[in-house]
Symmetry: C2
Subunit: 343 residues, 2 copies
């Protein structure tokens, strides 16, 4: 370590900078996806993902009840498994708690976690509880996948279609409605509820995997390396496409008019806001997948109407937002609207 | 939930009390061992264990460098795997960090973790880094075992010999030497170093498993349910024996004169202190195993001289400390010297 580095503090390098430094301590093959892959025996892959959530950083009592905090934490981890093409085997929950926290709060957190897990036929398989000055929730999810079905970020190929499994921007809109209740006045009660629910109870898209496998098998892809690249849109649609392109050494064009968003946005948000929410909102936990166009079309047909081909993988390295309707000027998307949790 | 429970705080029920309440949210079969067992497919068991460590609760800069904190955290989790009869597949590390922490501190923590893991041919396979007001280290270890070799707490049988794989009390003595350096004056430099090292760099006893399997196979136990019960002595030897007895519905007699402790204790500590350190010291991370006497004798012979048969499983439910040499009066051991982290 050189002396310049030794004086650096975590706040100087940020979350991503620190992760980069720490990558040197991990085997190189496990870095860079939503989750790590380990292979205990031939023909089997375990997929492991871990998240740490801190009170007032990742959730707050204003926008998140204990049940919702639990659901969201479980959902985020299951989404990381889905993004790798894995089905869940179970999760562990490590809790750090101040002594003054109500037992009922902890129970409600656990109820939220298990409510989510039950929807996906999985459960809490281990845990730890310790004293801490701040509420801390550390979740590790373990899943299982077939090695030839692992979905990685670095497998996107020029010509692939880019598919999203559902609308984007809903979670961000729900958060805005919670923080600024005055925004609700111009929305129906039903729409308001649906958007808030999208934020509080996001659904990891494990349900689309069997459909995807069936299509791959019907094209005799079943025994080859996966023809699907992808990740989830937990940090936003723009982030997902850019990360996939970086990892795969390709570029992309996203068609502005093809990005699915909640109907309620029309007449409620400006075009600028819609673009902001759908591209950078985050936490929709949809899958963003790149696959040959023919397969993508079949796949989208079998999902609900909000699944859509939103663009294509191109040569080069830029991710371009293109508008066929010419309402907006083409623009190059960048990561700089993303989150950096250290400040 | 009744109203009495809803007003309870975490500090009212303690760590163990809270875990008991939270057990209702987990499948019943996974509770009560050092780690949970999941079975992705027939013939295979995954063993998962998770620990959360908080600055100034589980480690402090006085007694623990960043490297040592990392080593100890990794060792504790690997020891939980060893206690279940599992070999490690990898660990995940979730970090919560104040922005003011030096990057070099985090690197030293990681170096300590990976130094330990390398000794056991395993590695960090995933992680997360987030902002937190207090340094938090959440580790989850994943191991693999054959279902018929899983070592559980609830399988001890009347007549089994109780084996410890090494000395007890060393880690506690090392901690005392760090906190009270004046105690070092009556010890050789070599002994002081060895005891402090036992505290700072404990070794999970994954190395004894192949020896144990070989002995079981030579007795044609290989395809039956494991004839071995046990856990590790992370919370002390007394705690381990009592937990095994409770889970198995049996009692035990521990022979005072058979408990192995570091030679340096003789002439340095009083008999009372030796008893206290060996029985309740904790963090020696040896294995405490119960198995048929013939197998136990063979097992102990193949380990180093500090492995010892320290007692036997009896009917009833009391754990008795017996002294053949009559230096001390027989006494019933209880858990009340153990740790409760909430206060």
């Amino acid at each position: 370590m050189n002396s310049e580095l030794s004086s650096l503090r975590v706040q100087d390098v940020g979350e991503q900078g620190l992760l980069k430094i720490l990558h040197d301590y991990c085997p190189p093959e496990i870095i860079g996806d939503d989750a790590a892959v380990i292979s205990p025996q031939p023909g089997q892959s375990l997929v492991v993902t871990t998240d740490v959530l801190i009170d007032n950083v990742h959730f707050s009592e204003i926008t998140t009840s204990a049940e919702d905090a639990g659901w969201r934490a479980a959902a985020a981890n299951l989404s990381d498994l889905a993004a790798m093409g894995a089905s869940p085997l179970g999760i562990t929950v490590g809790l750090g708690l101040p002594g003054s926290v109500c037992v009922s709060w902890v129970e409600r957190l656990y109820r939220g976690i298990t409510d989510c897990l039950q929807q996906y036929n999985t459960s809490i398989v281990g845990g730890d509880v310790v004293r801490s000055p701040v509420i801390t929730v550390a979740i590790t999810a373990i899943g299982q996948a077939y090695p030839h079905r692992i979905i990685r970020r670095n497998q996107a190929k020029v010509g692939d279609a880019i598919v999203v499994t559902g609308v984007h921007g809903a979670s961000r809109a729900g958060l805005e409605l919670l923080v600024h209740p005055e925004l609700q006045t111009s929305l129906s009660e039903e729409d308001t509820k649906a958007l808030i629910r999208a934020h509080q109870r996001p659904r990891p898209r494990l349900d689309v995997l069997p459909i995807l496998w069936q299509i791959l098998e019907s094209h005799a892809f079943s025994t080859k390396l996966s023809p699907v690249a992808g990740m989830d849109s937990s940090d936003g649609l723009a982030d997902a496409v850019i990360q996939i392109c970086r990892a795969s050494g390709v570029g992309a064009v996203i068609e502005y008019t093809q990005i699915p968003f909640p109907k309620a946005f029309q007449g409620w948000l400006t075009n600028e806001q819609i673009l902001e929410y759908t591209l950078y909102g985050g936490e929709d936990f949809e899958l963003v997948l790149c696959l040959p166009k023919q397969l993508a079309e079949q796949f989208v047909q079998q999902l609900d109407k909000n699944a859509r081909i939103v663009g294509r993988i191109t040569e080069g390295s830029t991710v371009l937002l293109h508008d066929e309707s010419k309402k907006i000027l083409d623009k190059v998307l960048s990561l700089n609207r993303g989150f950096q949790h250290f400040g």
